[in-house]
């Protein structure tokens, strides 16, 4: 018997950002109707799992939630995240061949530091999954392909300096859509150059050019990267009927893409054509993952030849694909000191806007350049929400692959930062020992989230 495709369907019928927000109860209602009426859950190729809750600890491994995880996540977030971890466990154990989490709320706009909700996201489900896979299952090399119409800026932010995560995002050109980033020159930091690839597509691009990008860039790069696991951030707002996007993809093309990429895990992200796209796209993706004929799935108003692409735009995409392939192929021959300088730290300044919560954040991110490991990262962040006084934090993250020198250096910096008057909170995210600390300046108190005992033993350096 062939292995099944695992599904977790969690429409959160009792959760909304607000009654009229696109992230409201209704979002997956018609998808529910479609997949239930088709009897998808009864198919012998499908196994439906129950959702479960992620722990606060799973979130702390990935994010710096200000001031604490509990302030940034609701139970719905924990269920969406936990459902993905459930499917990951089942994929890794070999119980299922792949899994699809049709869950809400989404997460790909959530960055490492979380002051509030941006782009409908509070916590990044894929990033939490990656950190979990590494800690729980020892999986290191992972590829994430983001097929949402919006740039997966949160995921990019979190893995920008991680050489073991390949992040490819194709999306509508940032000059024409939220969040305004994801250009082809955003390629990752000095330690992870070309492990971030962005393909901004001009509005109006349809299935043919979508497949061109997949066949000529996404698939060859993913194959060469040789990941242990492939994740698809399966946003569906590239669909031709999406109210937020201006692309022209069909349900069938989403399924073709899924069949080609063969992700081990697919995670629903955006997609707000809740009637005209989601029921069909979700159904098509499920069938594609399960290896079932999806050729009879089609939108009621679609007919072949409905969309004509502009030849100039197509040529523009072809050129960009060629350019990016070249960057990928020559990624090890680059003189990094020319691009990134040659200091002890590589740093970037970021201005982050939280559209849902109207928060403005300024960040200074510094990466310790190290020949032995990817280096720790420090982030000084200051965020203002409306009138109240801004919140200042300092955060340090030590990667799982950290060397001894970086590890102890990072702790020195943590101790120094705790003494600095300008920070309200100081965070230490030590993925090496799986311990997460928050120092609350006003109380002079340190909170520690302790790791999974059985794994902490293996990694403890104390």
């Amino acid at each position: 018997m062939h292995k099944k495709t695992g599904l977790i369907f969690f429409p959160a019928f009792d959760w909304a950002i607000s009654p009229t927000h696109p992230e409201r109860e209704e979002r997956l209602l018609y998808t529910r109707d479609q997949i239930f009426e088709e009897g998808v859950m009864d198919l012998p190729q499908i196994h439906e799992y129950a959702p479960r809750l992620a722990s606060i600890y799973d979130i702390s491994r990935t994010h710096f939630c200000v001031p604490q995880v509990q302030n940034q996540v609701t139970e719905a977030h924990l269920i969406a995240s936990g459902s993905i971890l459930q499917l990951a466990d089942s994929v890794v154990s070999g119980e299922i061949k792949n899994g699809f989490a049709i869950v809400r709320p989404p997460g790909h706009h959530a960055m490492r530091v979380v002051h509030g909700n941006r782009g409908f996201c509070n916590i990044n489900n894929e990033a939490i999954l990656v950190d979990y896979l590494r800690r729980r299952h020892g999986i290191r090399k992972i590829a994430i392909v983001d097929s949402d119409v919006h740039h997966g800026d949160g995921t990019q932010d979190i893995f920008y300096h991680d050489p073991d995560v390949l992040f490819i995002s194709f999306h509508q050109d940032g000059r024409t859509i939220y969040p305004g980033s994801g250009f082809s020159d955003e390629l990752g930091g000095p330690g992870a150059y070309a492990r971030t690839l962005n393909v901004p597509l001009p509005p109006g691009i349809a299935d043919e050019t979508f497949m061109y990008v997949v066949d000529n860039l996404v698939l060859p790069v993913v194959n060469e990267f040789q990941p242990e696991l492939v994740i698809n951030s399966a946003g569906q707002d590239n669909h031709y009927s999406d109210p937020l996007g201006s692309m022209r993809f069909t349900a069938e093309a989403y399924a073709d893409f899924t069949q080609k990429l063969k992700p081990n895990l697919a995670v629903l992200e955006g997609g707000y054509a809740i009637e005209t796209a989601l029921p069909y796209v979700n159904l098509a993706i499920i069938l594609a993952l399960a290896g079932i004929d999806y050729s009879n799935v089609r939108e009621p108003d679609y007919y072949p030849g409905k969309f004509k692409e502009s030849p100039e735009k197509v040529a523009q995409v072809h050129r960009m694909v060629e350019e990016l392939l070249k960057t990928w192929n020559t990624r090890d021959q680059v003189d990094f000191s020319q691009i990134f300088g040659s200091g002890k730290y590589y740093q970037r300044k970021k201005f982050i806007f939280y559209d849902t919560d109207y928060i403005n954040e300024q960040q200074l991110e510094q990466v310790r350049r190290c020949n032995e490991c990817p280096g720790y990262i420090t982030i000084a962040s200051r965020a203002r929400r409306g009138n109240p006084a801004p919140v200042s934090i300092f955060a340090i993250t030590i990667p799982l692959q950290a060397c001894q020198a970086c590890h102890s250096e990072a702790y020195d910096i943590y101790d120094q930062a705790k003494k600095k008057p300008e920070y309200d909170y100081v965070y230490m995210q030590d993925k090496y020992t799986d311990k997460y600390r928050t120092y609350v300046k006003s109380k002079g108190q340190e909170l520690v989230t302790k790791g999974l005992v059985e794994n902490a033993k293996n990694y403890s350096i104390e």
């Binding site: 909304a16 409201r24 799992y49 009621p300």
Partner: protein, 562 residues
């Protein structure tokens, strides 16, 4: 007084309940004809009481189960309208299936019209092949039955004497393939069921019984024995439901228990969680095909007292088949019952023959007859215990679609392991020890199923879905679709409407106005927003009459709420 009768595969049990006590019980062997068995048991149980004193009779029969298992029905042709979606090759229902173009979407909008020529052609093909029964089922017909209705009127016009069954009237939930199976089986069994109903009613009238006569359903509810109301296939698998309800009546209220019904070839397992029998989250599977029949979660394990036991190499295996009665009762091969006899856990059969049966298995392996017996019992127990664990796990891992449902998920362990059925006595103590509950074999355990039938009450549900933007609503259980008259139709209005329909259904099911306290199963409200303005609401509301039984056997105040 109440009468409950369970017509099972091997025996028919009847009980007479009087003010919460079992006044009498009888068991007669089942004959080939269900009505004969039923009336034999009825006449015996009525020997000392008058017909006027019988307030109601509830039957549980294998009628539909047998009809379907033995395929004793004329074939049913299918006319389906699946539209786009899953490839049509997936619709294999082992009968002539004609696919008509046309499509309705999830909100009941027509997205592709029917084609009259195709319909006529389909009817002609079925007619040429000799079909006289047809099931007509469309995808999303529960949201809009227009296409189904149009095809049915065409059939009625061209073939007025055909028996037609319509999807939305048989199975109102979302799930097209299950709706097809349910409708096909409803079509297949309707006439035989009607014949059964007429015969039983005539026989009861002859005996002067005037109280209501009801039939038990797979979900443990009842429906009036009436050939027009309800769907016959809902009475499939009422046997396990009867046993479970019987146990519910025989143990104190509120208990969490496992019901272990060990028969000759199968063991049926059911769960009672905090006093309520667990319903299956999916519809009942009928011989490999899933239906939309609401049923108790019953797990059938292919092991029982008469199961064949064989030696294969060094192993002694309990096989999932029966070759006859136990060796100690003159059967051909060793069975678990022989093992029980050897260990003194049962008194049936001949002790010497039981030892002989164990020796047949043990001698080539050089092990004693008592050790063989212990091994057999252990393996039977292990299979059953494993399945009990699986049932609990499965229940804990049922999908949930709302935040509150995920948060209220709990773990439960049984306090009691209750044995009913012929083979239970010998096994139950050891099963309970492994599961971690106390073993119970209630009084009247052998007739628990008839008690279950006697205490069953009708449970009625109404699922209302109202779409204020489109201005219509549907009632799942009735296949009804109607207009929303009010311009501002609120959640309160939707609840009132659902309650109104519940009362209507109660009337139809002969419950009069007893539906005073309805329960809300769930109420989902979906704000519909298009272009940033609210354009309507979808209400998805489910109400039901309280589930339960008339009362518990031996309760101090009798059946007070009867």
């Amino acid at each position: 007084m109440y009468i409950g009768i369970d017509v099972g595969g091997t025996s028919t049990n009847a009980v007479l309940l009087d003010n919460g006590l079992v006044r009498d019980s009888v068991t007669v062997p089942s004959s080939a004809d269900i009505i004969t068995s039923l009336l034999e048991a009825l006449d015996k149980i009525m020997t000392n009481v008058t017909a006027e004193s019988i307030e109601r009779v509830v039957l549980s029969t294998t009628l539909i189960t047998n009809l379907i298992a033995e395929k004793k029905y004329t074939p049913v042709g299918l006319i389906l309208i699946p539209g786009p979606g899953l490839s049509h090759e997936y619709y294999q229902f082992h009968t002539d299936t004609l696919i008509i173009s046309g499509a309705i979407d999830y909100r009941g909008r027509e997205i592709m019209p029917l084609n009259d020529d195709e319909i006529e052609k389909a009817i002609n093909i079925l007619s040429t092949k000799g079909y006289k029964k047809v099931a007509v089922v469309g995808k999303f017909s529960v949201r809009n039955n227009k296409h189904e209705q149009e095809i049915v009127s065409k059939v009625k016009c061209l073939q007025p004497d055909w028996h037609v069954e319509i999807g939305h009237q048989v199975a109102g939930q979302l799930n097209f393939p299950r709706r097809v199976v349910s409708t096909m089986l409803a079509c297949a069994t309707r006439d035989k069921y009607s014949f059964f109903v007429e015969s039983v009613q005539a026989a009861l009238t002859m005996r002067g019984i005037e109280g209501p006569v009801l039939i038990l359903k797979a979900d443990g509810g009842t429906m009036l024995l009436n050939k027009v109301t309800g769907v016959p296939i809902e009475t499939i698998f009422s046997g396990p439901a009867a046993s479970t309800l019987g146990v519910q009546a025989l143990i104190p209220p509120g208990e969490t228990a496992v019901v272990v019904d060990i028969g000759g070839t199968t063991t049926d397992l059911a769960l009672i969680l905090s006093g309520q029998p667990l319903l299956s989250s999916k519809g009942a599977p009928v011989y490999e095909q899933l239906t939309q029949v609401r049923a108790l979660a019953v797990k059938s394990v292919a092991v029982g007292g008469d199961s064949l036991v064989e030696r294969v190499g060094q192993e002694i295996l309990v096989c999932p088949k029966r070759l006859g009665p136990p060796f100690c009762m003159g059967g051909p091969m060793p069975t678990p019952t022989d093992a029980l006899r050897v260990l003194g856990l049962t008194g049936v059969g001949n002790a010497k023959q039981a030892v002989e049966a164990m020796e047949i298995l043990g001698q080539p392996l050089g092990i004693s007859h008592s050790e063989v017996a212990q091994r057999i019992i252990n393996s039977v127990i292990n299979v059953i215990v494993q399945e009990i664990e699986n049932m609990f796990t499965q229940w804990e891992q049922e999908p949930a679609y709302r935040v509150w449902e995920v948060l209220q998920k709990r773990k439960e362990r049984p306090n009691m392991v209750v044995g009913v059925g012929g083979g239970a006595a010998g096994f139950i103590t050891q099963i309970a020890a492994k599961v971690g509950g106390s073993p119970v074999i209630p009084p009247y355990a052998p007739v628990a199923n008839a008690i279950g039938a006697a205490v069953a009450i009708p449970t009625l549900q109404v699922n209302l879905r109202a779409d204020t933007e489109r201005g219509y609503y549907t009632i799942e259980q009735e296949g009804y679709q109607g207009k929303i008259e009010k311009t501002r139709f609120t959640e309160e209005d939707a609840l009132l409407l659902a309650d109104e329909w519940l009362k209507k259904r109660a009337e139809k099911y002969g419950l009069g106005n007893t539906v005073s306290n309805s329960e809300i199963n769930h109420r989902d409200v979906f704000n519909m927003v298009r272009n940033w303005t609210t354009t309507g609401r979808i209400y998805d509301i489910s109400v039901q009459t309280p589930r339960g039984i008339i009362g518990h056997i031996g309760a101090k105040d009798g059946f007070s709420n009867a």
